[in-house]
Point group: D2
Chain length 395, copies 4
């Protein structure tokens, strides 16, 4: 559940990572082939028995991923060898009905959307839980005074609750696209055949495409989006905004956790935050992980945006550049949200230190520490939380 390998438990933390694994991709491609067979059978393009036989073999565990991968390099498409193996397994009688009327990209793009659908579900859950925790934090500290800081200099008093409310608000907004992804039509099936004309389906093309999408729980896009990549960019951008919002929270935590400031502290625990050379340290490890991921995401988002210019009816490179990049974005941001939940759930707030720093700041400018004015901070927090009671974040 936390990613494997040397860096996996840091950068592949949580459930999203396994939903973008090779196995998950393979299963999603097989789900697409299975849904295609069923849709074709529904519309009497292939025998129902063929569809049944095909679906029975659409289980990832039946396939040798490495062998498919090696063959995939011959065509820069994992679908070519997958279809060959699927035909083999289905056998002579029904084998010819496998992959009816479709093309590699239909299967890979549909799989990408299924992968996204399955991987974004736990991310959405984590975002909602994080949002709830931030709401509680804001509420609890709506009156906890601290010094506000601008341009990294002490400025005027605020409350920690207002800061947390700002985090809450940003997470709410950023979570929205992820939370509604499954219902907004963003995640659509792909079925067009080689050049998008649905030509193999005769006059049943539109109907087959609709059925296919329905069976997969994906939206029907009405037209093949083989080289119209808005959806990929939308996913990348939604993840990128989540990442930026979490990076801001982590940055604040790191800054407040500086020894000289000491206003918050990450949860400790056995060896958590320990140093290899300095036994006395407690490092803000969660915030560091979130920050590290946050530095990596914008470049990946740019890759997806930069790959939108795709040639004719199927791109010669730009499309293929999306595959690992989208997986990576989901893996990284998925992990980042898990880290953020841990961070906020375990955050130790030192309101005494906040008061002390505030007093110092006020005295430094000749103010009276007994007359701290936090303005409308509590009122802002109250209104914001009151209007956000619903489970689903709103734009």
């Amino acid at each position: 559940l936390t990613g494997s390998g040397l860096f996996g438990p840091i950068f592949a933390r949580g459930q999203a990572a396994e939903q973008v694994s090779d196995e998950a991709w393979l299963q999603a491609m097989l789900d697409a082939e299975s849904a295609l067979a069923q849709a074709c059978a529904d519309h009497e393009l292939i025998p129902k028995a063929a569809a049944k036989a095909i679906s029975a073999k659409c289980k990832a565990r039946l396939y040798d991923i490495d062998a498919i991968g090696i063959a995939a390099a011959q065509t820069i498409s994992p679908v070519v060898p997958l279809v060959a193996q699927l035909r083999d397994k289905v056998g002579k009688t029904h084998g010819e009905h496998v992959h009816f009327g479709t093309t590699s990209q239909d299967i890979v793009d549909t799989a990408a959307m299924l992968v996204a659908k399955r991987a974004l579900a736990p991310v959405a859950d984590d975002l909602l839980a994080l949002r709830a925790a931030l709401g509680e934090l804001a509420d609890e500290h709506r009156m906890t005074p601290m010094i506000g800081r601008t341009l990294m200099q002490q400025a005027l008093p605020t409350t920690f609750g207002l800061k947390a409310a700002s985090w809450f608000s940003a997470v709410s907004d950023a979570a929205y696209e992820i939370v509604i992804a499954d219902e907004s039509g963003l995640l659509a099936a792909q079925l067009g055949g080689p050049v998008g004309t649905l030509s193999a389906f005769g006059d049943k093309g539109l109907a087959v495409a609709e059925t296919y999408a329905e069976k997969l729980g994906l939206a029907d896009p009405y037209i093949a989006w083989h080289t119209a990549r808005n959806r990929s960019a939308d996913i990348a951008s939604a993840l990128g905004i989540v990442s930026g919002v979490l990076s801001k929270i982590a940055l604040d935590v790191i800054l407040m956790a500086q020894n000289e400031i000491g206003e918050v502290r990450e949860a400790g625990g056995p060896r958590r935050g320990a140093s290899s050379a300095m036994a006395h340290k407690r490092n803000p490890v969660g915030a560091v992980a979130i920050t590290a991921i946050g530095k990596r995401v914008p470049g990946l988002v740019a890759t997806v945006f930069g790959a939108m210019a795709q040639e004719h009816e199927r791109a010669a490179g730009a499309w293929q550049a999306e595959w690992e990049t989208i997986s990576e974005l989901i893996r990284l941001v998925g992990a980042q949200v898990v880290w953020a939940r841990e961070l906020i759930d375990g955050l130790e707030v030192d309101s005494g230190r906040m008061a002390m720093n505030l007093e110092g700041a006020v005295l430094a400018i000749g103010g009276d520490p007994k007359e701290i004015d936090v303005g409308s901070a509590p009122a802002i927090v109250d209104r914001l939380l009151a209007e956000s009671l619903s489970e689903t974040p709103q734009h």
Copy 2:
């Protein structure tokens, strides 16, 4: 109207560019100061006469931009010298009421949103016009056969209308965020005072903020977003997706316009598309300009995403990195849409050449050129256009 300087008519084409000019920024900052004064007067925090006097001086032409710029470098904020000059102009009696209870970033961020509002309006218009033109192109060529190409190789027959419909669909989706930007709440006012507490407004903070936003025609965000930069990222991403979609169209045009293919040709005209050394050439200049811009946008989008991690209540660098970057994004994508309109409006389609290339492709694989099957291409076009009759694009 087409940008000035050596490269301006290429990269600052159209009306968006002037809406992100220094003058436009200055006016927007003054509009924010004016609205603030009016809102404060409405809520009896400053005299109505003061508000009137202040608003009277909130005209960009009264100010020396270069002088403000030079002073701005002292504080990395154009608002500090602007407020000083505004106070001067308003005079002793009311000068103290200028910039009441606010902070530099309130003014700059509000100005940024006004700039975006004004600059995105012509971009939205151009996108809708482009969309309409693409709809007509798709409709006109719904039955025009051509060879579809995948991985840059001839594949199977399609129609030029289906290709244009794919462009139409992508532009529709991409245009949506831009077209609704003014109504979706994306463009919000900023008013929080130095650390977001609205402290100078006493118990009228929330009310003043609401009035201020209303006067500016911007949304009320409920909480200061000084360091919660979802909005900047949303704008960048919406522009980035438009850019990617237009780049795809331009790429197709460039490829189809190759002499050996010759299926489309950009409009000519006196010297348009001419070469300095080769008199016989007609270069696809619009598509080249769109492509050039398309290469530049993803890096700028990444900059905005990468700048979301902002410290405490005002960032020390990341916020300031947004200013020119957002302007640049608007300028470039605004120009790109203008180029795209020109490109599509003047596009010469050679259906004879399309038929010839298709015949060649079919013969090459031993097919019968008389039996061209374009599948459901016309039906897809028809349905797509029928469901898109409304003026406003829909997701």
Copy 3:
């Protein structure tokens, strides 16, 4: 040798990928610990027997990578658990001498440089082989006339040899940094102790650091570069330039391989370049793979550049962002070079088609196809190749 998993044989092709695997990273960290022990023993800071005992346990196969990874997430450092396990294996007598005077980042950064050293070696070999192949191609076709194309329109005659010479020249320049990486001082050891002062080594700090670097075959940087990340950026940029150069070659191949142009063709073979739906196609798969990688690299380069701003003596996120990113860059560009070698080695050049296209282009502008002027093309090729006879590319 070709990468495993679904996409590995495409994006992790060749030997570089395995040199950036978890096993390779772990071994490199152990090599650093071993060299440290040896250097400390040489300077009599720890017993020679301890160094021997430590080095004996510095073999990656003795360790459980997944367990280290899971523990690493507690501290965002794989070195903390690795040192614990190493101490265990070395045993009580000498265990305390493990990791003497050093810090996590010393080990990880040194390992990163060892990983780069080992991974770039096959990349350099492949680049030199590619360069030689391009030199031969340029020489062979120095007089082969073809039409030059500018702005994607036919322009004037050139030779295919001149085009290949341009590829050769770009590869030569790009290869230079990679080929000399091991000797240029770019790849340096890291040893500074927790804050770069070498304090645990008493007055032997400089000497230990020198010995340590020498034992590892890495340069001595004279000062810890824990947060001075020029080296990471230099590596990223060298790889990025290689990637850009290869992308240009692939783009030209894809364009020339279009059916309507047909001037080159990638090598075929059983199923190579095949389509899942269209049996007649031969897709330019190598060029597609190169292009796909080329789209992904600039974003990763930007990540490394954007991560150069690192705090104080060890960064809280930016450094950690480098780990997988540098590995990914090496993996991808390593694969890209392998694809490029395969592409050029198997490239089928159709000089007849070149002549035909050229004739068509000349006739189209009313020229005389019998009087083709390729200017100094052959002379340029000859001089370029003559000056590049040495094995090592020169800037």
Copy 4:
């Protein structure tokens, strides 16, 4: 000298900006035309009188930049209208000899290199001055103790001199490519004619190209690099690394300047670092400006890298994407270096506060503040500075 407009004095500070202005570009293009005429005359391809007449009109002030810009959009090339105007001014007798045998891109690329040459000269000077100032700072504070910080937590003692020496070392390395740019062959002339064959020059092509480069003070590249863009990427990357190094310094300054830490402070002065709302603040404005620029540069670097894939003999978009991007990179990084010089020249170091923070850190972990061990810090500084006495930084 500090850039004009609202944001110019921040982001276009210093002399580099004016060297990338429209006027500078225009003059550089005219310099290229002039050198071409002279080289052609030297090799008796055009009359000496023609060359003289042409060179006499190659003065930017004679031209209407806006008019050229508007016409340039017709061809996406400023050279087409420039040549027309130059011919006009030269007059009938010699007008036909203008632009002999060359192509737009020859002129634009050569101009880009001249622009870089002229703009990088002040950047190099500023870098050397910054480096010298950092050397002095390191030397002065080689023994000034302070607490080292890792992962944003107090760690172990170091000296401020060691920190400054790390800055010095990074600046030295980063400056190297910029300082030697004019001699390293990086900045090369471009002369190939329309497709790189030098065909108009008969058998004198190579000689003309050599003379042309020599007259311009640029390297002779031996082969046209119209679509081999290593040089653009090299410039972008060199600037990007400078930017990253300066961003690290600024980040450290911002962190040390926090009120709660107070170890350094930027120079003040009338209104410098002032706030619009909080009279008591002194903001780290130089460091903020450097940071803001540092956030913008990686995206621009990625743009240049991403634009390396250029088609055939002249790109349809990717090349044109370089123009403003390279200018922007030079403008921004040039300004950043100026800010860095100001920052370091005016930096106020509070060694008392450093000692106090250090004492607090040592006490916090039960250490003895009287026994501060800064290890080899002074020795490292001494050796580093001793080996860097030469004026020119070395790799």
